[in-house]
């Protein structure tokens, strides 16, 4: 096993191919500006869903406040980028936003992650609401009207880089010893603690990492749509992200990616029918919970399925 193994090169090649293909479609105009917005939404939703999945799907800590961290990233990046109107300003803003979101995540996580299940859900919801109210009242964030005219430095290249990096990094984390420690908390907190896992530490770690990437997603959002206001990051946005994670499967990275893409497409097609879209979301949530509570993918990944098929063939050859 080495960093430059055949498998990793294959993944890298695939990613480059995907990037080039989409870039080609954009240049040739097959993906027109209208669909480019969908593309941006897909990328941002993927980052949000994968990062929430780390917290909720893998570590088992039910959070209803992910939009709060997204808003910290969005506002931080927007404010810095508006002061420093350059590419450097955008990148500094993005990282500052992500780091700040992670710090707030740690600050919030230490007291609230002692709570379990639905109590934690409500506490995180409350935290996100508090963050929203603060943005609503600060002068620098321009209150309810929000910030307009944020410089737009985000394009397909940046979206792709950050999305791919987020997915790969979070995936690496989950498939490490720390990741297993997080998963053990989801499985049985008391047993995990008895096996030497500092559960508080890893819950807070997962929460902070989730917040970090949600901050990146928020920064990309602010930079791409050049307008943000507190109302965009309310309770409903957190639910939006949760729907993706639940639909894709709590504990499946590829599930989150698929669901994020699917839902962004649905959103685009139903853009002028907000109510219908939300009713559809609601019905999907209920039906999934009743008939397939594990979501589309459960805890398995696309790669597991492929490997399973492949492995069978191998056996047959032998």
């Amino acid at each position: 096993m080495k960093a430059l193994s055949k498998k990793n090169l294959l993944i890298l090649g695939g990613l480059l191919l995907l990037y080039a293909a989409v870039l080609g479609l954009i240049i040739t105009g097959i993906i027109n500006p209208f669909y480019e917005i969908t593309l941006a939404l897909i990328c941002i939703n993927i980052i949000l869903a994968v990062s929430l999945n780390l917290v909720t799907g893998f570590t088992g800590q039910f959070s209803l406040g992910h939009a709060g961290f997204m808003s910290i990233g969005a506002y931080t990046c927007a404010i810095i980028n508006m002061q420093m109107n350059s590419m450097a300003g955008f990148l500094i803003g993005l990282f500052a936003g992500a780091v700040l979101a992670a710090l707030v995540g740690i600050l919030i996580g230490i007291p609230t992650l002692r709570l379990k299940g639905d109590y934690l859900a409500i506490a995180t919801l409350g935290m996100a609401e508090i963050i929203r109210v603060i943005f609503l009242n600060l002068e620098i964030t321009n209150g309810a009207a929000g910030l307009n005219g944020i410089p737009r430095f985000t394009n397909w290249t940046w979206l792709f880089i950050f999305t791919a990096a987020s997915v790969v990094l979070i995936n690496n984390f989950i498939r490490s010893s720390q990741g297993r420690a997080c998963i053990s908390i989801r499985e049985d907190e008391i047993a995990a603690e008895s096996m030497g896992i500092n559960t508080t530490k890893y819950k807070v770690m997962a929460f902070a990492i989730g917040a970090f990437f949600a901050g990146i997603a928020g920064a990309l959002y602010a930079s791409y749509f050049y307008f943000i206001k507190p109302g965009l990051f309310g309770f409903l946005k957190s639910i939006d992200i949760l729907v993706i994670v639940v639909l894709g499967g709590m504990g499946s990275i590829t599930g989150s990616v698929i669901a994020a893409t699917l839902l962004a497409l649905i959103t685009t097609f139903l853009q002028s029918f907000t109510e219908i879209r939300m009713i559809l979301y609601a019905v999907v949530l209920i039906v999934i919970m009743i008939f397939r509570p594990k979501g589309l993918m459960g805890t398995t990944e696309i790669t597991d399925i492929l490997r399973f098929r492949f492995g069978r063939k191998e056996e047959r050859i032998q």
């Binding site: 998963i183 047993a191 008895s194 770690m205």
Partner: protein
């Protein structure tokens, strides 16, 4: 100083005193049994020793031997290899207790059911890994070397318990007996010097119990362990334990060698009382 010295351990929940003034001493290398009728407070003692509960009063002193191979372990700073330090476990968090060298199994099997056999063992090894969060993210070479070491150690451990072939199966799909074995393997993966077994033979038939008895004896020798065992099955306890403590209504009523316990009047009364109330 014995390996474990419990002094006047007391735990009350509100008005109810579940464990009262219990003192236990275990020498290194011993295999000691803790018995008593249902509800006597045996599992509560385990939960106190392992940090799940904080004692109301009393102390739990544990002599920790810094492992010779131990390196970079932050909790053993300043102590040379092989050196012995006495640690107060009362009030310590469970994960920290485990780090000091106590490991346990649970009465009602608490495996990570939806994870593989291998992952169950690797999770227990987590506190012995030597790479951090950023290595996990970026997969530096340290990540690969440590993961390899962990995998090898885990496989070796599973081999001992005849679970190597099933390493990729989900823990919940193992037959009951193997689940009990996996729990012991998982506890051993934390590299304990004192192993606490909570009713390891519960739900087993006599044949399985006999096999388990052999396994416990063997594991103790192989891993140079000290074992404290809670058991309901008297035949198992009498067969393998060198010394026995008897608990009733949260208090120690007797202690001594198996033959002494067998003929102890108070012990017989406690168990007979239970049988009467069961009938």
């Amino acid at each position: 100083m014995p390996l474990l010295k419990v002094e006047k351990l007391t735990k009350s929940f509100g008005g109810l005193t579940a464990v009262s003034n219990v003192s236990i001493e275990i020498e290194k290398g011993e295999l000691v049994g803790l018995i008593g009728p249902n509800g006597a407070g045996k599992t509560t003692v385990f939960n106190l020793l392992t940090g799940v509960y904080v004692p109301s009063s009393g102390s739990i002193l544990f002599e920790k031997e810094t492992p010779i191979t131990g390196q970079g372990d932050s909790s053993s700073e300043g102590s040379a290899a092989g050196e012995k330090t006495v640690i107060e476990l009362a009030g310590m968090k469970p994960y920290n207790v485990t780090k000091q060298g106590l490991a346990r199994t649970f009465q009602n099997i608490r495996l990570f059911k939806d994870l593989t056999v291998l992952d169950n063992v690797r999770i227990a090894m987590h506190h012995n890994i030597h790479y951090g969060m950023f290595t996990s993210f970026l997969r530096f070479n340290k990540f690969y070397s440590e993961e390899k070491r962990m995998l090898e150690e885990a496989e070796q451990l599973l081999k001992i318990f005849n679970l190597e072939d099933k390493k990729n199966e989900l823990a919940k799909n193992l037959p009951y007996g193997e689940q009990r074995h996996l729990e012991i393997a998982r506890a051993l993966a934390t590299k304990p010097s004192l192993l606490l077994l909570d009713e390891p033979a519960a739900g087993m038939n006599p044949k399985e119990t006999a096999a388990l008895t052999e396994l416990i004896k063997w594991v103790r020798k192989e891993f140079d362990l000290t074992i404290l065992l809670i058991e309901h099955d008297m035949s198992l306890v009498m067969k393998i334990c060198e010394r026995i403590y008897v608990l009733d209504y949260g208090m120690l009523i007797a202690s001594g060698k198996p033959e002494e316990i067998r003929s102890n009047k108070r012990v017989i009364e406690a168990y007979l009382g239970e049988e009467n109330s069961n009938a």
